[in-house]
């Protein structure tokens, strides 16, 4: 096989397949973990019947959704109705093209120098899925869900952008790989100087993924599922997978931007331990996934703890609290970087 074919087609394809498989399976299994974690928070057992200790529950759910009748409301916009779930899931998966799971090329699909812009841009496309899904269902609840979602995503994109820019200022690069490398070189992860940015980023991230306490667009008790009320079967599963994939995206980005990506924890204190022969074999993606899992656990913890915000309160929080805070934080951090003058 000629060399270029190998480098540019076969290896990336294999990587793509692996990433997609892991991601989709991971998203499916997140539902299982979420149910288990919520169950432990809520003093009950959670799924424990399908397979050993319930481990096949996610597979059973997927099978159920596959064979379920796929309903399309009679008076819906058929094409848009079909398009919406695709619009949700594709951008969510696309983002993983630039996420670095490890230091070397083998651990990532690609590294582009505007990776951060790519992530922000592509993940914003997902919102169209929700709006169009809500609108095309021809259901008033769905429409309200879609509208809520539109307002919510637009409002929270702004402070999130400022939070991300804070990291860019500190790292001096838009490349995700470079951002992690800078954290390694400095020996300080960005969550320390950027604790406020981290907070803003993660709150916005929870809001962008429509999760508790910001799950207004679907709000079972108000809008009966909101934008996906009319969806069933695999189309609904796409919305669901999209939501969980987005959770992984937000968590992965938080890891890369603030928690040193694939770097092992406590680089300064435990440096000898990580380089010792006992633990040196641990592949970097392990640390990466560990941190991602921690963030995802936070998501689930929120869900077990918080009531839901109301629409106007959500807007107020976004525009009146998070936006000024992230803006002020950006100025402070930029000033700090300028004073220290280490990088430009």
């Amino acid at each position: 096989m000629p060399e270029p074919l190998m480098t540019y087609l076969v290896i990336p394809l294999v990587k793509i397949v692996v990433i997609l498989l892991v991601l989709i399976l991971g998203a499916a299994y997140l539902t299982f973990f979420e149910r288990k974690i919520l169950a432990y928070i809520q003093i009950r057992l959670g799924p424990n019947r399908v397979g050993p200790k319930g481990w096949l529950q996610a597979i059973a759910d997927a099978l159920k959704l596959f064979v379920k009748e796929d309903l399309t409301p009679a008076r819906s916009e058929k094409f848009v109705f079909l398009l919406a779930p695709v619009l949700i899931i594709v951008p969510a998966l696309l983002v993983f093209a630039v996420i670095p799971f490890g230091p070397s090329d083998i651990w990532r699909l690609t590294d582009i120098n505007v990776a951060l812009l790519f992530v922000l841009g592509v993940s914003s496309v997902g919102i169209y899925g929700i709006i169009l899904g809500g609108w095309s269902s021809n259901n008033k609840y769905s429409l309200m869900g879609g509208l809520r979602s539109a307002a919510q995503l637009i409002s929270y994109e702004v402070p999130m952008g400022f939070a991300v820019v804070t990291v860019v200022v500190m790292a001096g690069s838009l490349s995700l790989v470079r951002i992690v490398e800078v954290q390694r070189e400095l020996g300080v992860w960005f969550f320390l100087p950027g604790i406020v940015a981290l907070f803003v980023y993660f709150v916005c991230g929870v809001a962008e993924t429509n999760r508790n306490p910001f799950d207004l667009p679907e709000a079972e008790s108000e809008l009966v599922g909101g934008f996906h009320t009319e969806y069933s079967g695999m189309k609904w599963a796409f919305f669901f997978l999209g939501e969980y994939a987005n959770m992984i995206v937000i968590s992965a980005m938080a890891t890369v931007l603030f928690f040193g990506g694939w770097l092992p924890p406590f680089p300064n204190l435990l440096e000898p331990l990580w380089t010792s022969s006992a633990l040196a074999w641990v592949p970097p993606p392990f640390w990466f996934l560990l941190k991602v899992a921690a963030f995802i656990f936070l998501y689930m913890w929120f869900r077990g703890t918080f009531p839901r915000y109301r629409f106007d309160q959500l807007m107020r929080l976004g525009w009146k609290v998070l936006l000024p805070v992230s803006l002020a934080n950006l100025m402070v951090v930029a000033l700090g970087v300028l004073m220290l003058g280490e990088r430009s």
């Binding site: 003093i43 916009e77 429409l143 799950d215 709000a219 008790s221 106007d312 309160q313």
Partner: protein
């Protein structure tokens, strides 16, 4: 655009939403026609009757003790207090005095029922506002109460646990110990739930100032129970017209100040503590003796009419009994607390947001079985 209806949809400024009867937050089969402008509610029109079973008509056929199971099915989260109201009405019309042990047993069961009913309220109310977890905590405790009911009368939900003239059964051995064990651990649980909710910022933002009704309006709209007390009116049938032996136990009536959803929440939480207090006193004083008064085999109240009400968990539950001297009621009308409390709903939500609607439905603590009868 191929479909004109979608265009009309997009152009309309006001939208009418049919909220229910299969909506998860209407606590049954309530239907609300909600007129909204965006998220703001312009008007609400409740449509009820989906669960109408003609209970009052059925009463006219049943013997007096035969009516009791029908009352179970009105407010099915508080069957004991429903029983209590009915037997109280018949006893009042016949002039029966029940033995003190029966009276104390009724109070214990009724207060346990109040706890169980408030637990269902807290569970669903919190769930409506988006907090899932209290639901499971509350239902765990409620199950313990239902276990006590089951042990006493064999039923968990539709208890049918009182008879005209007293109580049908003696307590099983060790029941009082199990009941005491339950109420001993209960206040700590209430404190736990309060930790999840009372100071929670989101909970407060969602409930403070939502569904406000002033004390004067509350009386005008006939609100009773926690919705009335939440508006700051210290009024409770157990104090005003004490039945059974409520005049012999000490308890406080908590009231709110602002008449909003948060105050009603606090009132009910405090009521749970007060119920525990009542049960504890009742268990301490529970006298020995018969549980059934000497009543004729066939209950035949004299010709006449009487109204008797109890403080059900939802409010004043009254029975208006008209007898012609036969062994079935000539007319037995129920004054359902939920029915009348629900009537104030449009008043309380007008001008607020759709999300507040579910909060206010939750705070009114309605049960459609009692509304529709």
């Amino acid at each position: 655009m191929e479909s004109a209806h979608l265009k009309a949809f997009a152009d309309a400024e006001e939208m009418e939403i049919s909220f229910g009867p299969q909506h998860p937050s209407t606590h049954g089969v309530l239907r609300l026609m909600v007129k909204v402008d965006g998220e703001r509610i312009l008007d609400v029109k409740p449509i009820i009757g989906y669960l109408h079973r003609g209970t009052e008509k059925l009463f006219e056929r049943e013997t007096y003790n035969g009516c009791i199971p029908h009352t179970d099915r009105m407010d099915y989260t508080a069957a004991v207090t429903n029983n209590q109201g009915l037997v109280g009405a018949v006893e009042k019309l016949m002039g029966i005095t029940i033995p003190p042990r029966a009276a104390y047993l009724r109070m214990i069961l009724a207060e346990l029922q109040r706890l169980a009913s408030h637990l269902v309220w807290l569970a669903t109310h919190a769930l409506d506002i988006g907090a899932q977890t209290p639901y499971f905590y509350c239902f765990e405790e409620r199950d313990k109460i239902l276990d006590l009911f089951e042990e006493y009368c064999g039923a968990r939900l539709t208890t049918n646990c009182m008879r005209v003239g007293g109580m049908p059964f003696e307590l099983t051995a060790g029941w009082t110990d199990r009941c005491r064990a339950f109420i001993d651990q209960f206040p700590a649980k209430v404190a736990d739930w309060e930790r999840i909710l009372t100071k929670n910022r989101i909970w407060r933002e969602r409930t403070v100032g939502v569904g406000v009704i002033s004390a004067a309006d509350a009386i005008e709209w006939g609100l009773t129970g926690p919705p009335l007390r939440g508006s700051g009116v210290r009024w409770d049938i157990r104090k005003v017209f004490p039945y059974d032996r409520y005049d012999e136990v000490e308890f406080d009536i908590p009231i709110g100040t602002n008449g909003d959803t948060y105050d009603r929440y606090l009132v009910r939480m405090e009521e749970m503590r007060q119920s525990v207090r009542i049960i504890r006193q009742c268990l301490e004083r529970l006298p020995e003796g018969p549980v059934m008064a000497k009543v004729p085999k066939v209950i035949k109240p004299p010709k006449g009419e009487v109204y008797f009400s109890v403080e059900a968990p939802k409010g004043e539950l009254g029975y208006y009994l008209v007898s012609e001297g036969g062994d079935t009621p000539y007319r037995l009308h129920v004054r359902p607390a939920c029915f009348i409390n629900l009537q104030a709903l449009p008043e309380m939500v007008r001008g607020q947001l759709v999300a507040d609607l579910v909060a206010v439905i939750g705070t009114l603590d309605i049960v459609l079985g009692e509304i529709d009868r």
